[in-house]
């Protein structure tokens, strides 16, 4: 358990710079997610922290000590790989014991106790004698987790550890990881491309885009106040709509390409071409002749395809030439192809600079 500090990390492969100067300050015991699309550099950053990749520039400090030039085996870390990387010729208990043996932690008897404890933590005590290949994917994943926590590393690094599991198992593991982190309090760096996973697990999310930190904040903050169009579309899959902000009689309004306008919150200071981020669940769907609840602004749109999701419906609606996706409860079903009203609470609209301005 220790803090982790990255200073202006740059990394080039040949001519290509994949990390353009990343600095992070991670307090002791925090659970941080590095979130981004594949190829954004998040895994490279994790590997630099592990010492598996050298840096072109910048320093890595663990617990106040500069480890930039130490090989991985000299850093007090543990890492969990996407492929789990269990040693196939060792059984489960031997795999979990491996870091203790290598780091010379404890006498053999104590090592056995710690292995047993770690395996019980992940509920696999009964499989200690099995070979990795005899286990299911979910069980292998737990063995890898036990092996990562058994040595109580200063920093725990997780590289998309859940991406090979199916949806149901992943959901269960989210709860277990949260509970495990609460109990052990290991400083954890978690790499993922799955926004829901990042939101679920972390104290703090670092959103990475093309080798740069795009936004860095708590899950609630980053979800409710994304700072850029990229953040909006990546987190929560918001609809991005081009519009022009003008001053209307009652404050700023956004004008869409089909001429309709939408009042914006008072605090909006941008003018000219912008991108509006509208979340799927923040748009209400109403029949053309319905009266909207108070406080909701209205837009007229054409209803497209309905996708039934059980608890909810997803509609495609056409606002001029723009396709918007709207989530609505399953209680009411609207007619395909007709005109509908979109009810939007102005306070839920995020106004972001247009991509090219």
């Amino acid at each position: 358990m220790a803090n982790l500090r990255l200073r202006d990390i740059r990394k080039s492969f040949g001519q290509t710079e994949v990390l353009h100067g990343i600095s992070l300050d991670i307090p002791s015991g925090a659970f941080i997610s590095l979130l981004g699309a594949s190829g954004c550099g998040k895994t490279t950053l994790l590997r630099i922290v592990a010492g598996l990749e050298s840096t072109t520039n910048g320093t890595v400090e663990i617990d106040g000590r500069d480890v930039t030039h130490l090989p991985p085996e000299k850093r007090d870390i543990a890492m969990m790989f996407q492929s789990y990387a269990l040693l196939p010729h060792l059984n489960v208990a031997e795999n979990v014991r491996f870091p203790l043996r290598m780091r010379g932690i404890g006498a053999p008897g104590e090592q056995r106790d710690r292995v047993r404890e770690a395996l019980e933590t992940v509920q696999l005590g009964h499989l200690a004698e099995r070979r990795p290949r005899q286990l299911s994917g979910g069980q292998q994943q737990r063995v890898a987790l036990a092996r990562a926590i058994v040595s109580r590393p200063k920093v725990l690094l997780l590289d998309e550890p859940l991406s090979n599991l199916d949806a149901r198992l992943r959901e269960d593991m989210h709860v277990e990881l949260i509970e495990l982190h609460k109990r052990l309090g290991l400083t954890t760096l978690f790499v993922t491309h799955d926004q829901e996973e990042a939101l679920s697990l972390s104290d703090h999310i670092v959103l990475i885009n093309e080798g740069r930190v795009e936004q860095e904040d708590s899950p609630t903050e980053i979800y409710t106040n994304p700072a850029t169009p990229f953040a909006s579309s990546f987190l929560g899959a918001a609809n991005l709509v081009a519009a022009v902000v003008e001053d209307g009689p009652g404050g700023p309004v956004a004008r869409f390409e089909d001429g309709q306008t939408l009042p914006l919150p008072e605090g909006c200071h941008l003018r000219g071409p912008v991108t509006l981020a509208l979340r799927q669940e923040d748009i209400g769907l109403f029949a053309a002749d319905e009266t909207l609840p108070d406080g909701r602004a209205t837009l007229r749109a054409r209803l497209g395809t309905r996708v039934y999701l059980g608890a909810r419906n997803r509609y495609v609606v056409h606002l001029g030439d723009t396709r918007l996706r709207v989530l609505s409860g399953a209680d009411r079903t609207l007619e395909d192809g007709g005109t509908v009203q979109l009810g939007v609470d102005p306070s839920r609209i995020r106004v972001l600079p247009a991509p090219d301005g």
Binding site: A50, G51, L52, P71, P72, E73, R75, I77, A78, M79, F81, S83, A85, L87, P88, H89, F98, P99, M102, R103, R147, S151, L157
Partner: protein, 267 residues
């Protein structure tokens, strides 16, 4: 997945199985048959049954000397080819040898190399560089031919292994030598074992290079068999051949017991 096979292909496949059974296994059975013949001449079908030719072989100093040479040579070659070939496989797998792609292609060469031409060139080269040929010459020549098989079998095993194992070991605190010993070597074992098996057999059975590099005191078992056949053919040749077949079969059984033949076959 399609499980049926078009009838035409099935017919051809069975022709191949039949041909192999008759003309691959058949000759070996003939040799075994002749070895227990009572007759003084090599003839098939054999007449009578006796083990006299086995006695003759085991009582012959020249046979035993040739066998001892072949065995020493095969063990040396197995050792050197496995060591060098295994190391080269790891280096190629990690793309750390120059033009690893080209190297991988290059390792087809033993299959492509005209052995007789190679043997002639090796004789001339060695004579020009180092003088008379010796056991060392045979060792080098067989190693150069055998090591590529070890490279191939080990590469096949490495291709199926998790590329992150060694990194994972590093993050768990394993240093260089520990990773080599506890991670890399165990990964390679099935490929090394298969390659070692091939290297041993290849050296133990190789006739052409050994024939060109022979001189008094440097006669391997296959060369001795050849000489015997040329100058005084008798069923003792079949008896020693049967012993060689038995050794090969025994090696296969041992490898199967230790590693499982599937692992080796698929590498």
């Amino acid at each position: 997945m399609v499980r049926s096979v078009p009838p035409l292909l099935r017919l051809l496949a069975w022709v191949f199985v039949a041909l192999s059974a008759l003309f691959l296994i058949g000759p070996l059975i003939v040799v075994i048959g002749v070895s227990v013949s009572e007759s003084r001449f090599i003839a098939f079908p054999p007449s009578g049954f006796s083990l006299r030719w086995y006695q003759a072989v085991l009582g012959s100093d020249t046979y035993l000397a040739a066998a001892w040479l072949s065995l020493r040579l095969a063990v040396l070659v197995t050792f050197s080819a496995t060591l060098l070939g295994g190391a080269a496989a790891v280096a190629i797998h990690r793309r750390r040898l120059p033009a690893s792609e080209a190297m991988a292609t290059f390792f087809l060469s033993p299959l492509v190399l005209p052995t007789i031409i190679y043997a002639l060139g090796m004789l001339m080269l060695w004579s020009a560089l180092f003088g008379p040929v010796s056991l060392l010459t045979l060792w080098v020549a067989h190693t150069v031919i055998a090591a590529p098989y070890v490279v191939r079998t080990t590469l096949a095993v490495l291709a199926d292994s998790d590329p992150f194992l060694e990194e994972a070991a590093a993050t768990m605190g394993a240093g260089r030598l520990q990773r080599l010993w506890l991670v890399v070597l165990p990964q390679c074992v099935p490929g090394l074992a298969a390659g070692a098996f091939f290297a041993f057999n290849l050296s133990f059975d190789e006739a052409v290079v050994s024939l060109f590099l022979r001189r008094p005191g440097l006669t391997t078992l296959p060369v001795h068999i050849y000489n015997q056949l040329e100058f005084s053919p008798d069923p003792s040749v079949a008896a020693v051949s049967t012993i060689m077949i038995a050794i090969t079969v025994a090696l296969i059984v041992i490898i199967d017991r230790i590693l499982g033949i599937q692992k080796v076959a698929s590498s």
